[in-house]
Symmetry: C2
Subunit: 248 residues, 2 copies
């Protein structure tokens, strides 16, 4: 599948699709909230590494010049005052001329590099994601907790997973935590807040990466009047090779 | 010298001072230009990797909690409509309550890592800096050319210099160009636009890094009503160890 194929045909989660291409989280907010959102992202670069910001009203991004952000994401979430009000497959009727869209790096992007380095990917169509007890650094009217994604990694491969993902800071980089979930305030790994339950084998260690669903937790906490996001795991697949975001 | 020593006593360029600590470029703009500035930085992460953004009017940054941004920089530049109007050692009387300060990573930060890797640092108190013929990606009312810093590197060490700096993307990362200056529109290496002339030995290759003086070239090109910056090479020395910005 090419990125274009994913953008035009897929309706489910995008993990493992169009391998080798960068995937992105979406959060679109009215222009009067755009500075707070961009500042929030700058102040929280682990969960919110910004890959592109559109001009107000434009549904186009340099990350995939031919794509329309109103239709290219498999599933959207529409938010009003912190409440999820719709989850459409097409956001065209919800889009507004004053929306500024932020494309934020997604950890699906480094999964190809993890696999090439021999780190097995246990999860199914979607990763497990959890709201943590860590608060992000606020910006203007925006505040909220850090969300993380989980991958179960064989103990002997944790160092490889840290090193490989650490070289891709624009798609969340190295893990924020390895081991005990309770250190993040996660009480039951089997019940993620978003995505699929984890799949583990004997000797696996839970490894947590900062997650681009964090802005959705921020919407729930901060309750701005309006926003459109992707649905967790249902990413915008760009035309940018993942190598573009690999350093070192 | 500690970072505090540099901030309180130095009046010249800061290259090589307080080794092991992160140095930063400063650009402070009125709040109504802050979104354009932050967006410009996001769209041009090589020259403008943002380390912190202050709240409007605040002269304080998380990068050095005890420091006052109005006095901690060795020398400032005050800009009105794209013209340099003053170059004070203390910016207190020029500071305004509506200013938002951006601290942007500086390549002085990776010089310690270069030196540890065996790359000799030829330059004197300041590096040579040049305005190039490459245009940055515009944002709102802000546009202008890329500025680069130059280090002359022995040919056999260029790969090391690329690798070591490439692991520090928040302080400009890998070079933007190696070799022929004319590819960047630079006609005479001996006459930099800012800083000191280069010092070279036989067999050296010119290596160019994106530079945090770029926002000053943007001020000259875009002519906004007001801004305060550092003077090139006269950096804000933070309390943050350089290892904080090293990945991999």
């Amino acid at each position: 599948m090419t990125p274009h194929d994913v953008r035009t045909t897929v309706t489910g989660p995008t993990a493992g699709l169009a391998p080798g291409y960068t995937q992105a989280n979406l959060i679109a907010v009215p222009v009067d909230l755009a500075y707070d959102m961009l500042l929030f992202a700058q102040r929280n670069p682990k969960p919110c590494p910004v890959l592109d910001v559109t001009d107000p009203g434009s549904p186009h991004t340099v990350l995939a010049p031919g794509a329309d952000l109103r239709t290219a994401v498999p599933r959207y979430r529409v938010w009003r005052y912190g409440e999820l009000t719709a989850e459409p497959a097409d956001a065209t009727t919800h889009w507004r001329d004053d929306l500024v869209a932020f494309l934020i790096g997604c950890s699906f992007t480094f999964e190809q590099a993890l696999a090439e380095a021999g780190v097995p990917l246990r999860h199914g169509p979607n990763v497990p994601m959890y709201v943590t007890n860590r608060q992000c650094r606020p910006a203007g009217g925006l505040h909220g907790p850090l969300v993380v994604s989980l991958r179960m990694v064989p103990a002997a491969m944790v160092d490889t997973a840290v090193r490989v993902s650490g070289l891709m800071p624009a798609v969340h980089g190295a893990p924020v935590h390895v081991g005990d979930p309770s250190a993040l305030g996660i009480t039951d790994l089997a019940v993620p807040d978003f995505g699929d339950p984890p799949v583990a084998e004997a000797g696996d260690v839970p490894v947590f990466w900062a997650c681009g669903v964090t802005p959705q937790a921020v919407l729930m906490a901060s309750k701005p009047p309006f926003a459109i996001t992707h649905a967790p795991g249902h990413m915008f697949v760009t035309d940018v090779p993942d190598s573009e975001y690999r350093v070192g």
